[in-house]
């Protein structure tokens, strides 16, 4: 994936209604964001619909993007994640169960996710900080973040008491934020 500076410049050009810039931005960022939407929504058709919605929103809001405030991929990830969360909160939606990918991938040392995070400039740091967490803390944070599971859903899947899950999540986040600050 392209560097932040490239993505920033593309967003600036989107703000000036340059449709070519949006296309390039899409080519550079959509595989990563589609991966995230697919993971959270668990259905390809839903993920496709959310992607459409999000890139139109990115186009319309490009002029609100400020490089001083966040990295371009962070800004776009926020839009995609929030759209997925909204989608999943629609009433009467039959959401397929999460598979075991996240539980398995993030168990113990989580070599796969860590290697992917370590590859990129903007995620190297969080990979290092995640290593300082207990494995179970990493796992519950990942289950919440990627599979959009609630505390009680995580508790059910791990067969652990709800209060324990909450404190793993809270302490894990505290430690992570402490390390990243």
């Amino acid at each position: 994936m392209a560097e932040s500076a490239t993505l920033q410049e593309l967003l600036v050009r989107c703000a000036q209604s340059d449709e070519k810039a949006l296309e390039t931005l899409y080519r550079l960022t959509s595989p990563q964001l589609f991966g995230v939407a697919l993971r959270m929504l668990r259905r390809k058709d839903w993920a496709e619909e959310v992607m459409q919605e999000c890139y139109v929103r990115i186009w319309q809001n490009a002029r609100n993007y400020s490089a001083a405030q966040s990295q371009p991929l962070t800004w776009m990830s926020r839009i995609v994640r929030n759209a997925c969360i909204d989608w999943l909160r629609k009433p009467q939606l039959e959401i397929p169960d999460a598979d075991d990918t996240i539980i398995n991938e993030w168990a113990d040392e989580a070599p796969g996710p860590m290697a992917r995070l370590a590859q990129f400039q903007d995620s190297k740091r969080i990979a290092e900080c995640l290593k300082r967490l207990e494995a179970i803390q990493r796992q519950v944070i990942a289950m919440a973040f990627f599979d959009d599971l609630s505390h009680s859903e995580i508790a059910a899947r791990l067969a652990a008491p709800l209060g324990t899950v909450k404190s793993w999540c809270r302490r894990g986040l505290e430690r992570l934020k402490g390390c990243l600050a």
């Binding site: 990563q32 991966g35 992607m51 186009w59 926020r78 995620s123 990942a142 973040f145 934020k177």
Partner: protein, 227 residues
């Protein structure tokens, strides 16, 4: 709960970003964010820290149809030139009689206005923190908003004003002006509304917020949905 407690704010921001803050608690938190610049900053910092996590997911190429749809929608939003076949002035001329047309032409030539950006029709149900819906906002295709209270809100707004805000994703609220506590208000500020994701109503001093940002409590919040 005391939402002003910085430690609690940091904790809730973490839960909000990771996604474990859910249901009414999440909506309440979004309402608080809309009104509180410091809280928005805390959330943004947390997002900057945690969202790079998305890199842990293997990338997947979306099918080609996704881009085709995006490109189609972006093209449809292009500003229509006032004199093109889709443009307003031409149709106004064709629709009116010659006298009216001549008048319209002279007005148009003296005061050319930019064509309005086309906005799809949207609506929002504005709820309080107990999820009680108090107002309905309908957005017409031209970007005008009609806000209708479902009950008389004068009691809530005694000696105060109700101000309507448009909130873009990750951006600060922009004022759409004051609305009536009892009866519908039509707001025509499509440029302020463009790109907004959420509408909110805050309680402000008579005459509206003196700062350009919400100063009073945000009483009702609703997400805009396409209809």
């Amino acid at each position: 709960m005391n939402y002003r407690n910085p430690l609690l704010q940091t904790q809730l921001a973490g839960q909000y970003v990771v996604g474990t803050l859910r249901g009414p608690a999440r909506r309440r938190f979004e309402g608080l964010m809309a009104a509180d610049a410091a809280l928005r900053r805390t959330v943004r910092e947390t997002e900057d820290q945690l969202l790079p996590l998305v890199r842990a997911v293997p990338p997947v190429d979306p099918p080609a149809r996704v881009w085709r749809q995006i490109a189609r929608r972006v093209r449809a939003m292009r500003e229509v030139s006032p004199w093109s076949w889709g443009g307003l002035y031409l149709w106004r001329l064709l629709a009116g009689g010659f006298a009216v047309a001549a008048l319209a032409l002279s007005v148009v030539l003296v005061q050319p206005k930019p064509a309005a950006t086309l906005v799809p029709a949207q609506m929002a149900l504005l709820q309080d923190k107990t999820q009680h819906v108090a107002l309905v906002a309908r957005v017409a295709a031209d970007g005008s908003v009609r806000v209708s209270p479902l009950e008389n809100l004068s009691g809530t707004a005694t000696n105060k004003a109700l101000e309507l805000w448009a909130i873009p994703p990750g951006g600060a609220p922009k004022s759409l002006g004051l609305i009536a506590a009892n009866g519908a208000t039509l707001v025509k500020r499509p440029q302020v509304l463009a790109g907004a994701e959420v509408l909110a109503v805050s309680l402000e001093p008579p005459g509206g917020s003196p700062t350009g940002a919400p100063t009073g409590p945000v009483l009702w919040v609703g997400k805009l949905v396409n209809v």
